[in-house]
Symmetry: C2
Subunit: 344 residues, 2 copies
């Protein structure tokens, strides 16, 4: 195959409420070592470490996170500072506008966990090859359970290394998710995309011309500060924020999907984090001083105080900076609405 | 009826492991405000407050607890300091030996909760009248569930205000406890007793002559320090410790039982404590800063850190001095065996 170079574009967003109290507004999820020793952001950069396949990484982030990024990003990373949080479509457009039109971008959220980095690299390469043919390519994560927390992608006709996208489906209810699993042909939308920079901007201009124009003006009026690029604030701030899924992927006629079976998790809540960690023989996982008696599939995470748990199953206990969270695994999706999480 | 005077004898023992981490060796269960504003010890004294029925209270305790007793006991209480912890039979004998032979004693653990103090006083009076006739009288707590954590008393023939004891039964297994409840005729042994002092000492001398002799020598060689009486250490320390149930009640031919339906609990573990407290409309009880979402019959007790709980039923969360306990209600009986509780 022809030689390929992929430009990783790492998106840093998120408010840090769903993994409260560990994740806080001041230090949200990407910058915490939630699975293993490396933070999710560091692990994302590690997966795209500059080599024959991957070029210099580009990090797109808000100014609130620059201190964490300075501490955790490799020295060669380029940084684009979003003047305002406007969701993923404008953030990706900033990076696309900074790259040559022919550059192949791989857009990666900074707060996901991927267990199998080899499978990730293979999927990235397959996606980049499709993107080189001007497909707008989503990673289709192998769906192995009727998850209601993710969007789904229905695969269409085969194309080299993947499929066209027949349909994007929003987060389904439980019955619909079970039907998808039974029927087959559906993948989860993992929020990882490959685009040729020029193709992305062209499709954005077709479907969201005002957004494309505002991004072009923000980049034209921007300035560098060291390795940070600061787009002009005014045009960018006036953008109506929108996700890449809504603004581009659901509208383009050139959407494709590559299969990715790589132990992926968006670590979207404490239950997902528990599942991403390896446990003992009965599924208990502990970080920090803990004693666990007669429990199964219990997660304990404490920043100091000893936690003793007796007789529970599928329960999560988190102690962090004077806050104590105790939730059923199923209840983990409500953590973001707790007073402590919402009023940070 | 003839006038009656009852000498309350309050026993302070217990190691503080079953309600860990709230209860600690340095400040065990009797001296904590576990139900309501008063400590269990204060509430025990309140129930026997000196009046026409009750005489000066006598507190029997180890030296480790004297500071708590000095702080919490009414000024008129007499205090007998056990030279060593030897279980209840010798402790009661110390008090009996300090009283006139004709005195009617009411022996009360200091760490029980009794919701209906009027019913308690009526049962105390009935028990004292039987004790005046030289019966050795146990309170028989109305058994309303197949509890496996208490000893049982099978009622025999009626006597004035109560029954003879047909049989004492040790803590039964679940099936046996259910049979007791079905058959009727059984009460729980609440560890509350009425004796004429001379009758108790006579029965002790009959069934445990060495213990009775050692107690007599300890009292004869004792000394006062203010309101504290310190029995001689040597004879007392050599006693083989034993409960009043084993040493006296199960051996005497004069055991009687009076019915007591008074909202009693021995607060023997966190589940019992939860049940002794009043909850909201779905049974949740919180002390300290807490947010409870989608829960039923959850107890939260925290000395400072906020506790947020989601989606749990019959779970107990206790935060105290840097320790966090999370247990199922059923698991509460294992708290005393946790590392934190056992290695205080």
């Amino acid at each position: 195959m022809a030689e390929l170079q992929i430009h990783p574009v790492i998106l840093c967003g998120g408010s840090g409420t769903r993994l409260w109290p560990r994740s806080r507004a001041t230090k949200p999820k990407p910058f915490l070592p939630l699975v293993g020793e490396r933070t999710l952001f560091e692990a994302t950069l590690d997966r795209c470490r500059r080599d024959e396949l991957f070029a210099q990484p580009i990090v797109v982030a808000g100014s609130a996170h620059l201190a964490h990024i300075a501490e955790q990003a490799s020295a060669d990373a380029a940084i684009i500072v979003e003047p305002a949080a406007k969701n993923t479509a404008p953030a990706i457009a900033l990076a696309a506008a900074m790259l040559p039109e022919s550059a192949l971008m791989l857009v990666c959220p900074s707060d996901h966990h991927i267990a199998d980095t080899g499978a990730f690299a293979r999927a990235a390469e397959a996606a980049a090859r499709l993107a080189a043919d001007d497909w707008l390519v989503a990673f289709g994560i192998a769906a192995d359970r009727p998850e209601t927390g993710y969007g789904y992608i229905l695969r269409g006709e085969p194309v080299a290394g993947g499929h066209t996208v027949a349909r994007f489906v929003e987060k389904p209810d439980r019955a619909t998710a079970e039907r998808f699993l039974d029927e087959g042909g559906y993948s989860w939308n993992g929020g990882i995309f490959a685009f040729r920079a020029g193709a992305y901007l062209a499709e954005l201009a077709r479907h969201r011309p005002e957004m494309a124009d505002a991004v072009a003006r923000a980049v034209a009026g921007g300035r560098y500060e060291g390795r940070e690029f600061h787009p002009a604030a005014k045009p960018f701030t006036e953008i109506a924020g929108e996700s890449v899924d809504y603004a581009v992927m659901e509208n383009t006629a050139r959407a494709a999907v590559v299969p990715a079976s790589m132990g992926w998790s968006d670590i979207g809540n404490w239950e997902a984090l528990r599942d991403a960690r390896s446990g003992d023989e009965v599924g208990n996982r502990t970080t920090g001083p803990a004693e666990i008696v007669d429990c199964r599939n219990v997660l304990v995470e404490t920043d100091g105080p000893r936690v003793s748990v007796i007789g529970l199953e599928d329960v999560i206990v988190v102690v962090d900076k004077g806050e104590v969270l105790v939730t059923s695994a199923a209840g983990a999706q409500k953590v973001g609405k707790l007073t402590g999480a919402a009023n940070q």
